[in-house]
């Protein structure tokens, strides 16, 4: 299917409403990005999402948009909470996949002589790759259900981190409405051994340094300055989330038939938000999201421990406070102003980040003047960005922005490109240490496989969907 795209301005493109579409599509991208998108199915996916019942406003796509399954990656869609639908495909298998960023009181020069030891210690202490787990963490079923109910708050009570961390996590690290009884035994079984694990694929743990500050006021509020060491953690709800999604898809395929919802792609199966199936999914999804918050909280504790051990410094000296933790695969019930009217919506962010503006009540008190921090990882060879939310995002994208660089090459094309090259050695020459378990992971995750994330955040800033605060460059990357 070829999809018509009309240019609105330098960073906005419209897919006009036609056929079964209930609203139009709106894509934030530059001309080069749109040209590349014509060669894959992502634009068609934006149009497909617009056919779902109860969609409010356009079917949106951020500049890191690429071909996903069902929803495009980088897709945002809001549905009326009373008359609209919720779709597990609009969240994805890795429920509450997200990113968190820790600051430190360390400088690049200070850790340079110990960088390899730090990378090795993190690789040892934080389980990465398929099947790896910490032997000292064993959950009973009762404890696992508490994790699902309470998320990062469970982890803090179990001794992993502090109450202050919770203030700097989206939703305080606990999504309300989670019901572990709505999560299947199989999902619980998959999750039990995977709490506190990084996983594989594009998930990572990265030691970085702040190489440039773009907005001094916001950087100061976030406690960021040039030359400073930071740590990023990118992971999600692991097998538990995948199973919650898969279980829900079975139910939603039947529900779509039951409610007479016609689907352009089965992966978009859905049910009314206010139906037994919709409510069931949202309660299970919130449980998986809380599992992911707890997962990142545990990893944070082990990162801090690793730094303390290698550098022989205490927490007061290292000051590895949590800057923020964002979800980028989630559906949330939120209130937004639509055409001057306050409306309750089910906002799906599939590879998109919430970006609430200054003054928003859900922005932590410490950041209320600057807006909610937004963490945008790039690839392992270039850089990542820290942004803050803006009023423009509230006006146009239900308070959402991009989530990363977005893939440019397929995994196959990436592997072909690196044949005969020693990537780990190449990156080491650039001053980036890589520790990885999966044979294919490094090859498939090469920097060239991704768009330049700088191009993505430029479009975001130009469109008013976020303000660039700082750029972080990788020094050591741990991958599954």
């Amino acid at each position: 299917m070829s999809v018509k795209v009309q240019q609105i301005d330098t960073c906005r493109w419209r897919i006009p409403r036609e056929g079964a579409m209930r609203s139009e599509g709106l894509i934030f991208a530059n001309a080069g990005m749109i040209e590349r998108l014509q060669r894959e199915k992502a634009l068609e996916q934006v149009a497909n999402v617009a056919t779902l019942p109860g969609i409010v406003g356009p079917s949106l796509a951020m500049p890191d948009i690429h071909w996903g399954y069902g929803f495009p990656i980088g897709g945002v869609a809001a549905f009326d909470a009373e008359h609209g639908v919720v779709s597990p495909g609009g969240v994805g298998y890795d429920i509450n996949c997200g990113v968190r960023l820790l600051r430190s009181a360390l400088s690049r020069e200070e850790i340079a002589p110990r960088l390899a030891e730090l990378a090795d210690t993190l690789y040892h202490n934080v389980p990465a790759g398929v099947g790896s787990q910490r032997r000292d963490l064993r959950l009973t079923l009762h404890e696992e259900k508490q994790v699902l109910r309470r998320g990062a708050a469970w982890a803090v009570d179990a001794g992993f981190g502090s109450a202050e961390d919770l203030e700097h996590i989206e939703a305080g690290g606990t999504l309300p409405g989670a019901d572990p009884e709505r999560v299947s035994e199989r999902a619980l079984a998959r999750g039990r051994s995977q709490l506190g694990t990084l996983g594989s694929g594009n998930h990572f743990l990265e030691i970085q340094h702040v190489d440039r500050v773009f907005a001094a006021d916001a950087a100061e509020a976030l406690g960021l300055y040039e030359g400073q060491i930071t740590v990023s953690i990118h992971t999600g709800s692991r097998g538990l989330g995948y199973q919650v999604c898969d279980d829900s898809l079975h139910t939603m395929l039947q529900a779509s038939r039951k409610y007479g919802i016609s689907l352009p792609d089965k992966q978009l199966c859905c049910a009314p938000v206010q139906s037994p199936e919709g409510e069931h999914y949202l309660a299970a999804m919130a449980g998986a999201a809380n599992f992911a918050f707890a997962n990142r909280q545990l990893i944070t504790a082990w990162v801090r421990e690793s730094f303390e051990r290698v550098l022989g410094k205490g927490p007061a000296e290292l000051r590895m406070g949590l800057i923020y933790d964002v979800c980028h695969n989630i559906a949330k019930l939120e209130t937004h102003l639509v055409a001057g009217r306050s409306r309750r919506l089910c906002v799906h962010r599939k590879g998109a980040t919430r970006a609430f503006p200054p003054g928003h009540p859900e922005t932590p008190a410490a950041y209320r003047q600057i807006g909610q921090p937004v963490l945008i990882p790039g690839d392992m060879g270039r850089y990542s960005f820290v942004l803050v939310g803006t009023p423009g995002a509230m006006d146009e994208t239900f308070g959402s922005t991009c989530h990363g660089a977005g893939r440019l090459l397929s995994r196959h094309a990436a592997k072909k490109l690196v044949r005969g090259r020693n990537l780990v050695a190449e990156l080491a020459q650039q001053g980036i240490l890589v520790r990885a378990t999966g044979r294919a992971t490094v090859a498939e995750e090469i920097p060239e496989a991704y768009k330049d994330v700088a191009e993505v955040v430029e479009v975001v800033e130009q469109a008013g969907l976020g303000r660039i605060v700082a750029r972080l460059r990788p020094l050591a990357v741990i991958k599954g």
Binding site: E40, K41, A42, H66, W67, G68, Y69, G70, I73, G89, G92, Y93, D94, G129, V130, G131, R186, A189, R190, G199, S200, G201, G239, Y242, Q243, C245, D246, L249, H250, L253, Q254, D265, K266, Q267, C269, R407, L408, L409, S410, R411, H412, A413, T437, G438, R439, A440, T441, E444, G480
Partner: protein, 132 residues
């Protein structure tokens, strides 16, 4: 098959049984490479779905979970019954040994995206996308 973020598999065979075996082989190849997992582990599966496409996804996801939770890597597969909405299968295979078969990449799930199973007179074909 090319996909920007994930992997698509296209497989075919003269019978539905063969098609399901080919799809299984492709899934294993994506995860651990082209291995022949002969062993003494045994498994019996009985699955249901609304149509043959959904049955194929259900089958692949069942094997993914068995691999993840029990470390079961299928080798020989005998379909006792394989119809549009239902299958019964006997599997033999090996307990997964990471030293012998290092993981290539983790598959989160077989998806319903652009899922297709079609058949002509002598060939069954399927297209399935895996979420990585």
């Amino acid at each position: 098959m090319e996909h920007t973020a994930d992997i698509g598999i296209r497989c075919w065979g003269p019978t539905p049984d063969e098609l399901f075996r080919e799809a299984t082989g492709a899934l294993i190849e994506v995860m651990v490479g082209p291995v022949c997992a002969a062993g003494n582990e045994r498994l019996c599966l009985e699955l249901q779905a609304s149509c043959v496409e959904e049955l194929l996804v259900t089958w692949l996801n069942e094997l993914l979970v068995r691999f993840e939770i029990e470390g079961f890597l299928p080798g020989e597969i005998t379909f006792v019954q394989l119809e549009e909405q239902r299958l019964r299968a006997r599997l033999s295979g090996a307990r997964y040994d990471p030293a012998r078969w290092p993981i290539e990449r983790q598959v989160k799930a077989a998806t319903y995206h652009l899922l297709q199973v079609e058949h002509s007179l002598d060939t069954w074909r399927a297209t399935i996308y895996l979420d990585l």
